[in-house]
């Protein structure tokens, strides 16, 4: 029987290890540049693309076929990531191993990340620039391509900065002007002077907007000017504007260190870039940022309330059956499903509080809701409510662990009750409070269900923090890592293409949550050692 029970523990531990292993492996492997395999098919293989016998791609999976042939032995198939979605209409191809006539790893093949349609896999043929066409076999092709792509990236950055920041600011200002006019109209304080004033400013803004838009259009035209000509593994030549290339590498040429370098640069891009193509490409920066800001706001809300409630319960209230009941109730709130808090958040914060704020302070924007719809503030408050029991419980424990002696000594020395709490009790329980906070943050960062109801979106056009006054936009919707996983895995039009991104995001989220939790556990252990308490 000892073995029997040991077995169950073993299973439990094994499950965790397997799970984490699967995530880590899948999550990291997408950043690792694997070699591109070129496959020559036998005659009449169903895997042929557009009649061509040759195809090339990264091997993503090798598996047994789900429908086995009649004869014995297990047929296996390879899943190749063939890219070139614009040319083929799909990104993946299953190839029966028995259909493969020849496998090679050609040196010249290039894998390029593009703005649209996912990756490109093919052989470079030439660059058609304004200065003339440069063939791929000429000596300066490599340098020129490097330079062109670099210039394209710089230009794209510039376009983005014009369209997002500068034009965005103008649009924002225009919106503000229109709203202030509407507000004045609603208040009945509109004057003709004011009207003309606003019209003049609007015209000025419009003029500036047109200049900027012209600039952006010119840059865009420049982006389209140069052409990158390449040959698909299937033999067809195609060309794309060189400005659409974001980066490229020769997967079969780079050595191990090149791969490591590429691996880390990919990870960096994942962290720092914005998502593209229905979130299946690019990075997750807005989601990281959204998660971060939301968690921060939540912490700001949760600590004071949690600590005050804990101090009240421990130090001020009369310990009796009522307080015991309250304590149990608070404890149990931690066990109430998160979705219930989401429901509350939607009904109370969004519709009730938000709706009231809108009708009181932003009547000029109605019926478009400002606070009366999901937003980062409501999400943070909902999660704060959800996690406040965690903070209360751990703070209470920490306060209870402060030795009676220290407390009485302080009182005996003439300190007031608040002074005792402020100088003796609270400093001693800081680690406990922090533990509670970290646990709350871990729970908040990993929670998705309530957020779906109170303001998380799959793609937020703007960040909740930016350079436009008032800098922090509490009413804005935001992106969240956990929701990103849900959205990518389940709402994505091309789930196979989204899979690597989901695994990577999952790894990131787990890393975040595990680090938070581990630090809480460590902190608690430290605390326990310092104040050996009896309560578990």
């Amino acid at each position: 029987m000892v073995w029997f029970s040991g077995m169950w523990l073993g299973i439990g531990l094994l499950m965790i290890v397997t799970l984490l292993g699967v995530i880590v492996k899948n999550g990291l492997s997408i950043f690792w540049p694997s070699r591109v395999m070129e496959v020559e098919l036998v005659e009449g293989s169903p895997a042929a693309i557009q009649g061509a016998k040759v195809l090339a791609g990264e091997v993503r999976k090798i598996q047994e076929k789900s429908v086995q042939a009649e004869k014995g032995g297990t047929a296996r198939e390879k899943q190749l990531f063939v890219g070139n979605r614009d040319a083929f209409g799909f990104g993946f191809r299953y190839v029966d191993e028995s259909d493969i006539a020849k496998i090679s790893y050609p040196e010249g093949i290039v894998l390029a990340e593009r703005v649209e349609y996912g990756d490109l896999i093919g052989y470079p043929v030439s660059l058609k620039l304004a200065t003339g066409e440069v063939k791929a076999d000429s000596a300066d092709f490599t340098a020129l391509l490097e330079q062109t792509v670099g210039a394209g990236n710089a230009r794209r950055g510039e376009i983005e900065s014009i369209e997002k920041d500068q034009i965005g600011k103008i649009n924002h200002r225009m919106g503000v002007l229109r709203l202030s006019q509407r507000k004045a109209e609603l208040d009945g304080k509109i004057t003709e002077d004011y009207r003309t004033e606003i019209a003049a400013e609007l015209a000025e803004l419009q003029r500036r907007y047109e200049i900027l838009a012209g600039k952006a259009a010119a840059l865009r035209a420049e982006q389209k000017a140069g052409l990158f000509v390449y040959r698909l593994p299937t033999g067809i030549e195609r060309e794309i504007p060189a400005g659409d290339l974001m980066q490229y590498y020769y997967p079969n040429q780079i050595g191990f260190f090149g791969r490591v370098g590429h691996f880390f640069s990919e990870i960096w891009h994942f962290f720092s870039r914005e998502p593209r193509e229905a979130n299946t490409e690019g990075g997750v920066f807005p989601a990281i940022f959204g998660t971060f800001v939301m968690t921060l706001l939540m912490s700001v809300a949760v600590v004071p309330f949690g600590v005050i409630a804990a101090i009240y319960l421990r130090e001020y209230s009369k310990q009796g059956p009522l307080v015991r009941a309250v304590r149990i109730a608070v404890n149990n709130l931690a066990g109430v499903p998160s979705i219930v808090f989401g429901v509350f958040g939607l009904g109370f914060f969004v519709y009730f509080v938000g709706g009231s704020i809108d009708s009181l302070f932003f009547p000029e924007r109605l019926p478009t809701p400002t606070y009366g719809t999901g937003g980062i503030l409501w999400a943070a408050l909902t999660l704060a409510l959800m996690t406040v029991p965690v903070v209360i419980v751990s703070t209470e424990e920490a306060i209870a662990a402060v030795s009676r002696g220290a407390r009485e000594a302080s009182l005996a020395a003439g300190a007031s009750k608040w002074q005792t709490i402020q100088r003796i009790v609270l400093p001693a329980s800081v680690p406990g409070i922090i533990t509670g906070l970290v646990l709350a943050m871990a729970r908040g960062a990993g929670e998705v269900a309530p957020l779906m109801l109170v303001g998380v979106v799959k793609l937020a056009p703007t960040l909740p923090l930016d350079t436009v006054a008032p800098f922090i936009h509490l009413e804005r919707k935001f992106m969240h890592l956990g929701f990103h996983i849900y959205d990518l895995g389940f709402q994505s039009p091309d789930s196979e293409a989204a899979k690597p991104m989901v695994f990577a995001t999952t790894l990131l989220l787990i890393a975040l949550v595990v680090v938070l939790n581990a630090s809480a556990i460590l902190l608690r252990e430290k605390l326990r050692r310092r104040y050996a308490s009896s309560a578990f």
């Binding site: 029970s5 073993g10 439990g12 409630a309 009240y312 001020y316 409510l385 608040w418």
Partner: protein, 778 residues
């Protein structure tokens, strides 16, 4: 306060030495002020937080309560009252969607318009159509936009009425527009008419008296679209149904459905004929003849009418009996026919000259006779509102938005009443009981909140959701319980302390895994694997315990010299390789087992192939889905294991060591001690661990949303999905209109979740506290 004396004492001692300033011992005003302020602040704040946290429940409940309110209508206060219309008999009324400019058709063929916005001013419309004829039959179905008039001269006129709304200065002005749409000629005076329209096809049914007896003719008219304008209506078919009439039995009324495919003939003897026309055919088939009040002594039908959606008929008998018949198919019948489905409370009082009108938005209808008016809802079989009005009602309409009643009384005036009934489709029975929905052959529990068409009947039974919640929880606990409990026993009783330091944090990390991650893995990684390897899982679940028992037994037979190589408390480490081996073996044994046992005949090739996913449905008759309860149980187990484990382990570890030592000293083995002494002592703690685990499983959302098909079905099949309360909220609430019925029903789901988890957790918590007390005394 109670520290004051000690301060005074010390002051007294100080005085004995030398005399200092007594104020030296007073706390400064600032300190006292801050102290008083903070005391208040914390008290108020603390109570505030606690109240706020508990207020969550109150708020959610407050959102649910309005759902159960019955309809409100004040019969003493009309929101619109028209002037008295000129003398004459008024045979039909119609109105715009806001109920602002109702029109009434007088027996002489003139239309009178009442402007309820302009203090009820009456105008006469210039529109005329009779051309010297007299009206002999009228039908005006609300919402159809057509008044059908039959004349003594054998004509049937379809009069189209439309309203145009224009807005100026934020005010709405409505103007009616009357036009003759089509005129058909029949032989003999028209006695009854009915009309229905579906897209480009209109169906007119007319009962005429001719010399050889009554004739029933149905005319199909269609509009051919032309390049300019909408074209004119042309008669495309005329069907004579006279032979289905009963000689000597007059026809009371005719009804045509809005789909223009059904004709209902109500006879004076209480019989009802159901004619049906399939698709675009021009033939009618008499599908059914039935008697709604067959069991009554006088089976006469006082009024009959379709419900919104035209799938159900509402009948009223002269004694006030009110029944609903719905179309559905049973196993034995080839086509859908009418069956009795509901019996509503009889209308009070004697029914003479009753009126009936349906809502154009939901399954509510208005019946009444004389001064009595009763608003009822067919789905819930509830009377929403019933009462007497100060006048006798001649004609009635329910507002297009189900927010008003428009009544034409014997005082020759229009009366408009505001109707406040936002949630007519809700009753306790609809939420928790079996309801006989339209088109269903039996009453059932069903959740389906939205449908494809406007006339959809919302099905809001929470029972399938509660069932799904329990099902998911059950499978999760089935999987998690052994792992968590035995794991906890092993960890607390046998595991070497040095390993314990690692095991517990690992479990806590596991507890912190976000459920969205688990759900994602379940759906996209585990489910496809499990789909192919169900037999492997079966093998493993059988092999594993067997192997561990075998090894344990063999081990206990070994001499001490061998046994000492595995130190106590390290068994599980040594077991791990064996475990992996068994997993590996079971994994590969699975397909073998599948080929031998779970074979089905392949329809294409005729050979028997091993395929569990097809074997299961063929043997049990239930479905196999990729995202099924097994996957959910497995992954939700992940979420639950660490919780049960941690709490159970805590309560086991806290069993006083003296008990353990005593038992061991008396010669009990390690297992005997654990099983017979420690476990019973900590049983309350174990139970509370299970309860808290249960609470978590009940409320788990993301895993279920992602890893099941979210179909609200009610079966215990392991290989089918389910929909839980929490998943239902997550899926539907973002799209639910604020303060709508669905919104409140989902809030009710949240209340159910709250109550369930809160109760379970409270029981667990109380048990745990009891246990703590007990340990103190042991």
């Amino acid at each position: 306060m109670k520290h004051q004396p000690s301060r005074r004492e010390s002051a007294a001692q100080a005085t004995a030495a030398h005399v200092p300033d007594p104020r030296r011992f007073e706390a400064s005003k600032r300190v006292l002020l801050i102290d008083a302020f903070m005391n208040r602040f914390i008290k108020v704040g603390g109570i505030g937080v606690v109240v706020a946290v508990i207020g969550i429940f109150v708020f959610i409940v407050s959102q649910v309560v309005p759902m159960f309110q019955s309809a409100r209508l004040d019969p003493t206060e009309a929101t619109g009252l028209g002037d008295v219309l000129p003398e004459g008999e008024y045979v039909a009324i119609a109105s715009d969607e806001w109920g602002e400019r109702p029109i009434a058709l007088r027996a002489d063929g003139r239309f009178l318009v009442t402007d309820l916005n302009a203090a009820g001013r009456v105008e006469e419309s210039g529109f005329q159509f009779l051309e010297g004829d007299t009206i002999s039959a009228v039908s005006a179905m609300p919402g159809s936009g057509v008044i059908t008039v039959g004349t003594a001269g054998g004509k049937v006129h379809l009069l189209d009425y439309t309203y145009e709304a224009s807005f100026s200065g934020g005010k709405r002005t409505v103007k009616e527009n009357l036009a003759k749409g089509y005129t058909g000629t029949f032989s003999g005076p028209v006695r009854r008419v009915a009309f229905g329209q579906s897209g480009a096809a209109r169906l007119v049914a007319a009962l005429t008296s001719a010399e050889g007896g009554d004739q029933l003719v149905v005319t199909l008219i269609e509009r051919k679209r032309s390049l300019v304008g909408s074209g004119t209506w042309k008669e495309t078919a005329s069907i004579d149904l006279s032979k289905t009439l009963r000689p000597g039995v007059p026809v009371n009324s005719l009804l045509v459905s809005d789909r223009a495919d059904t004709l209902i003939v109500v006879f004076a003897n209480g019989e009802v004929d159901y004619h049906f026309r399939a698709g675009n055919e021009t033939e009618f088939e008499l599908r059914q003849t039935f008697r709604p009040f067959a069991e009554m002594t006088n089976p006469v039908i006082a009024s009959a009418g379709f419900l919104f959606g035209d799938v159900s008929l509402v009948f009223l008998s002269p004694t006030g009996e009110n029944v609903v018949f719905s179309l559905y198919r049973t196993e034995e019948e080839p086509v859908r026919v009418f069956h009795p489905t509901k019996k509503l409370t009889p209308l009070a009082g004697k029914v003479t000259d009753p009126f009936y009108t349906k809502s154009q938005r939901n399954k509510a209808f208005l019946v009444g006779s004389g001064k009595r008016v009763s608003l009822r809802h067919a789905t819930t079989e509830k009377v929403r509102w019933e009462g007497d009005l100060p006048f006798e009602v001649r004609h009635a309409l329910i507002g297009a938005k189900y927010d008003s009643l428009l009544l034409f009384g014997d005082d020759q005036r229009f009366h408009r009443y505001a109707l406040d009934d936002p949630h007519p489709e809700v009753s306790l029975k609809a939420l928790f009981g079996k309801v006989w929905y339209e088109g269903s052959p039996e009453p059932k529990y069903e959740w389906q909140s939205t449908g494809g068409s406007d006339d959809f009947e919302p099905k809001l039974s929470l029972v399938p959701l509660i069932f799904g919640t329990l099902k998911g929880t059950f499978y999760a606990l089935l999987f998690a319980m052994p792992i968590a409990l035995f794991g906890a026993i092993y960890t607390s009783e046998f595991l070497h302390p040095r390993n314990k330091v690692y095991v517990k944090p690992v479990m806590e990390i596991m507890a912190s895994l976000p459920s969205v991650v688990l759900g994602f893995l379940a759906a996209l990684w585990l489910a496809p694997i499990l789909e192919q390897r169900v037999p492997s899982i079966l093998c493993i679940t059988i092999l594993l315990p067997a192997a561990s028992f075998l090894i344990g037994w063999l081990w206990s037979r070994q001499p001490q010299s061998i046994r000492k190589y595995v130190p106590a408390g390290r068994e599980f480490l040594y077991f791990l390789p064996i475990l992996l081996l068994i997993l590996f073996a079971g994994w590969h044994l699975g397909p073998v087992l599948e080929k031998v046992v779970f074979t089905v005949k392949d329809a294409a090739s005729g050979t028997r192939i091993g395929d569990f996913t097809r074997w299961w449905p063929s043997v049990t008759g239930t479905s196999y889905e990729q995202r099924n309860s097994l996957v959910v149980g497995f992954v939700m187990g992940f979420a639950v294991i660490p919780i049960i484990f941690t709490i159970a382990e805590d309560s086991l570890s806290n069993v006083p060591g003296a008990l353990r030592s005593g038992s061991l000293a008396l010669g009990a083995s390690r297992w005997q001690t654990a099983w017979r002494v420690v476990l019973p002592t900590a049983s309350a703690g174990i139970f509370s661990a299970l309860m808290i685990g249960l609470g978590r499983a009940v409320g788990e959302t993301m895993i279920v949303v992602m890893a099941t098909g979210n179909t609200p079905i009610m079966e215990w099949n392991v290989f089918s999905g389910m929909r839980t309360l929490s998943a239902n909220i997550a899926v539907e609430l973002p799209e639910a209109p604020h303060h709508g019925t669905l919104y409140r029903a989902l809030f009710l789901g949240a209340v159910a979740l709250f109550v369930m988890t809160f109760a379970v957790n409270t029981i667990a918590e109380v048990l745990r506290q009891h246990l703590r007390e007990r340990y103190k005394t042991v």
